[in-house]
């Protein structure tokens, strides 16, 4: 149909919410958080390698990780996880035919819930 379109134009369509309905945000956000979390997963695995290198390496890393920029990153990761998980619940339920008629309400509700949980975690993490 549009073979001639460049890769970029095709990707832009995924992230272009203009004129689209509210659940389209679910699609966008799920895609971004999913890609982000995959990136984090492999960074995390690499970081955990420090555990095998002994106490100094790991504790040194944890100490380094206490600086605020890292904390912001961590909050982002946790939020991404929560959002992806709750949106995933909606998609999973819908896939088995549950709550489809209310998918829009479900999306808004779960997103609001995700927001509240994210704020709670951010508060806990910054005050810890």
């Amino acid at each position: 149909m549009n073979e001639k379109q460049s890769l970029m134009t095709r990707i832009i369509v995924w992230f272009d919410p203009r004129w689209r309905s509210i659940s389209f945000w679910g699609f966008i956000v799920n895609r971004i958080t999913g890609l982000g979390l995959t990136l984090y997963l492999f960074m995390h695995l690499t970081m955990l390698g420090n555990l095998a290198r002994g106490q100094e390496a790991y504790d040194g890393f944890i100490h380094f990780a206490h600086n605020p920029i890292f904390l912001v990153g961590e909050v982002l990761v946790v939020s991404a996880g929560i959002i992806h998980a709750l949106n995933g619940i909606r998609i999973g339920l819908n896939s088995f035919g549950i709550g489809l008629r209310y998918q829009k309400v479900l999306y808004i509700g779960l997103t609001a819930l995700a927001g509240i949980i994210c704020l709670y975690f951010a508060y806990r993490m910054f005050t810890a």
Binding site: M1, E3, R10, R18, W19, R20, S95, L100, K104
Partner: protein, 254 residues
């Protein structure tokens, strides 16, 4: 008589190999008229070269799907009042994810072929829930024919234009075709199963629900895709445990 608005119709133009552009037509309309009426006015009174598809003017044929101010609409049932204001703009473009024949007309060839391929019946009896009145209780076999009805899907293509995956994956069957497959039902149909249980089939959907949002004809393709998934998974599990899932075989066995 009725109210008069002056509205600018911004019409997508493309002929053959020439570059696409927009032509503006400032026309007088009744805001209760439909967007398709506006496009037809442009053709009748301003520019006979404008090409657009239309037929029934009451949402049963699915020919007049266009993007109106960015959103997929069946233009024959979209009042001008709903998409602009007096002095405003109505931007009309052809559907996305279809080849443009000329200006606003797109080629439905591949889509129609796929609808035939998944066995979507244009007339079927799957509609009782749709009708507001109570019907006579199930009668003799001959009564069933009376409940045959034209399918909800009018094959307008709005859902395919709105789908973000159809935009990036040209071979994806798309919402209407998968909805057609769902309505037909897998029932052990090997051909249909292979068509939808593949990378271009039912798994390409990522729940953006844009199809359902733009569908003008109560099809709810989003729901139907999810239901088709259930059918496919059920079929696969049945086969995993050696269940004879081929309906024809079963019937022959009887």
């Amino acid at each position: 008589m009725s109210e008069k608005w002056t509205v600018t119709f911004q019409v997508f133009r493309k002929k053959g190999g020439e570059a696409a552009h927009y032509d503006d037509f400032k026309i007088e309309v009744d805001p209760n008229e439909y967007v398709l009426d506006g496009v037809e006015r442009v053709w009748a009174f301003h520019d006979r070269t404008v090409v657009f598809r239309h037929a029934c003017h009451h949402s049963t044929c699915g020919a007049c799907g266009m993007r109106v101010n960015g959103v997929e609409k069946l233009t024959c049932i979209t009042p001008i009042r709903d998409v602009t204001s007096n002095g405003g703009v109505v931007k009309v473009e052809p559907l996305r994810n279809f080849p443009v024949v000329s200006d606003l007309a797109v080629d439905m060839g591949k889509f129609y072929t796929q609808m035939d391929d998944v066995g979507h019946n244009s007339v079927n009896s799957d509609f009782k829930e749709a009708i507001q009145s109570e019907f006579r209780p199930a009668g003799p076999e001959s009564d069933k024919q009376e409940f045959m009805r034209l399918s909800d899907c009018i094959e307008c293509g709005l859902c395919i234009s709105a789908c973000p995956v159809s935009a990036s994956s040209p071979d994806y069957l798309g919402p209407a075709v998968l909805a057609g497959a769902q309505q037909h039902g897998i029932h052990g149909d090997e051909h249909l199963l292979r068509l939808v249980d593949c990378e271009d089939g039912v798994w390409r959907c990522h729940s953006a629900f844009e199809c359902t949002a733009v569908c003008p004809s109560f099809v709810d393709p989003g729901w139907r895709i999810m239901d088709l998934r259930k059918q496919v998974v059920g079929e696969r599990i049945k086969r995993l445990f050696g269940g004879s899932s081929n309906k024809n075989e079963a019937e022959v066995a009887k």
